[in-house]
Amino acid sequence: MDRCTLCPAKHNLVPPSGLEDSRVLFIGEAPGKDEDRLGQPFVGKTGEEVNRHYLPLAGLRRESVRFDNAIGCLPDRPQGRLDIHRDTDKSLLLSCSSHGCLERLGETNGRVIVPMGVLACYALDPDINLELQHGIPLETSWGTVFPMYHPAGGLHEPKKMLMIRNDWVRLGKYLKGKLKLPVDTLGTDYQEIGADDLLTDYLECNDYTRPLACDTEVTRKREPFCLSYSMHPGTGRLIRAEDKDAIEIFQCLLNRWEGPILLHNWLFDSQVVEKMGLVFPHKRIIDTMVRAYHLGNLPQGLKALAYRLLGMQMQDFDDLVTPYSTPLCLSYLREAVNHEWPKPEEQTVRDPEGNWKLYKPQSMGTKLKRFLTEYQKHNDKDVFQAWDNWEDDHKQIEMVCGEWPGKSIQHVPMDKVITYACRDADSTLRLWPVLQGMTRQVRHRLSEHWDG
């Protein structure tokens, strides 16, 4: 084993250990103090937890698997931890892993690779979203990858151990070929619906007892933008908030509805539908987010739930809106920078010796210029974050340049909004029976591993 070019070479290189041709290869993040001292991965407290607690959950033994680390030696950082959000740490991780564990990976075929923790997953494939994809096998250029949270997480934060244990149980099932993975086989019949078509649907509807799932979207000012609903899995319809006729017909539909009305986060949606002029019958409402919360072992976000329990891929609100809102916000700032901004008042502050010093805050013009110059160099800079940082100046700028566009669904082309909004309602509809099944299991199986 050689060191990479960025290696500070202050600690020992820890080689992989275990059966060379094992079926499962675990990749940890980096050696700790115990591993550095003993020259083997996973031999400290976390190693003990893995050997005696987690491996048996997956039906494995230490002797039958192989362990490696994304980083070859104890990082020269406080508490030996790298921070994925720091550029220097990210470079060190990529340099070290490509020189070490990833190079060794090239020699292996047909293995299940289990990266454990954010760093190991990032080294293997930066697109792995651990929060969403932990405990789910993925096909990558390296072969089958089964991402998991780092086993040390449960020691530092006992609350995390439930998730980690579940991942190991799932790994065991996967290795035995018993892991059932949800697959989204349904089509996407998502459309906008106007008053006429809605009236036809309403008149032709002959079953008011089945579940009806609804969702809402709002503008940046939290004004209603649209309502989406789904009555059949794989379908969704969108009604614009300003389409008063359609809203009126939808109210008639709600008045006649006898089945459960499903929403994900009713506390939020209730205020939006009320602004639209809709009255939902409270007794029929089922909040799938509250259902997930009651089970206690699930994420509460709709996208994470739909991905993990239904295999549905869903777009994030930020990913939907950012590409369309960013150019508008940038041109707003480019216009703002051309104005004459007053110089802020000088302030006096006391230094540690007790002397008063004069402090000159930056003018708005300087702040804007600096941001735009930096944006030209690095166009991944977050324009929305920059705006949030100037909170005290918002009023002043908006007085001159008008309302800040911000991130808003109004900037997105309607066809994209239809897909996005209808999929939320569709996934809520499909989620409910799965959550119901898990709820039933609580009484029948006193175990913390309820299946979806």
Partner: protein
Amino acid sequence: MGSGPSIKNVQKIDSMATPMILSMAKTGLQIDVDHFTRLEKSLIEDMDKLTEQVHTLTGHYVNLASGDQVSDLLFKRLGLKQARYKLTQSGDRESVEDEVLTAIQHDHPVVPLVLDHKELSKLLGTYVRPIPKLAVRTKLGTWRVFPQLSGTRVPSGRYACKAPNLLAIPARTDRGNEVRKGFITDDGWVMVTVDESQIEMRVAAHSSEDPTLISIYTNGEDIYSDFAIFAFKLPDKRYKDEKGWHYPGVDRQGKGPHYPAKTCVLACIYDVSAKGLLEQMPAIFENGRPVWTEDKCQDFINGFYIKYPGIIKDRRRYHKMARQFGFCWDMWGRILHVAAVRSVHSWVVGAALREVGNFPYQGGANGTFKLTMGAMWDDIEQSNMLDVVHPLLPVHDELLFEAREDVADELIEAVKYRFETCAPLRVPLVASGAKAQSWGDLQK
């Protein structure tokens, strides 16, 4: 009330409380913008005074808002040692987080001043400055804030609140009260609060079936004074008259035995260690020495379990449940997962069991609270009182309303009745109410 985990039961309870929560989210709370402007000025003055006091004590001018400067003062210039060594995330200096400083508040008189400054700074940054910015002008020309309530954040079922978090305003400090005084009502209306008296303790008494605790609550006695007499070895001169129980020698107002006894009782219900209890005890120095030490706190905790052994038996029952199933449940069937009990390390198992701590009692108390919310909502709706009674906020074990002055007393009686009859426990439930012009003026 069932004997096993029951998600259906919990769903029912939570959905009963939902209409009132929706109404609260819609109504918001009226604020006095000028009050917050005045308070901001006064807090800044108080912070300057603290800076001067630190200078007088140490001879150094320190920007108390700067972690670097505070860390330098405490750990380098004054040579204090952290109770448990902790660095900042970047690892370049000792941490000066609240929990670090609270653990050493008894070591030097400057530490309470720094903590005081932090509290002021937090009040300023979290409430006094943001609240007027978050407020919205209504059609009637008043300003209201609409905090975002959530019922899916806390495992025990308690509500959480953000933008702003009105549930975390310091409860028993004068400054916290000053912030609450900024929440007002219109002329002819009053703020009304009704709170469940010692509800978690009562649920603990119910769940543990401890005979002493049950008899205290059945007789209408005060648990804190009862424990104070035992822990401080005071002469037991308690007597009852038409006004209730009296405990001569147990000073309920000042720095007497009542406050530390109450802190200890609550800490024991929360399964807090002696170290944790020490952090909660007031930082009092006599002849330059701290009055409270870890050993003294441990003696108090031991005393509590000797006097009320049912609590420790009950805790063991919940721990057994957690070890057996990997989760436990409260008296309503609400689940708390504690998978870390399966760890091979005893310290991880210990931490997991501490998480169980007061979950059964907080969850139980929360169930009674939600049942009351549901029943009260039905009462208000059925009696067409929604125009004159506005539910505002669920503050843990206290329901806050604004109501027209002429119906306020009736409302208090109605909520009290609902609180006191919401669940058949082994001990009686008691609630008390109050009304005033502002939230901060409410004297319970």
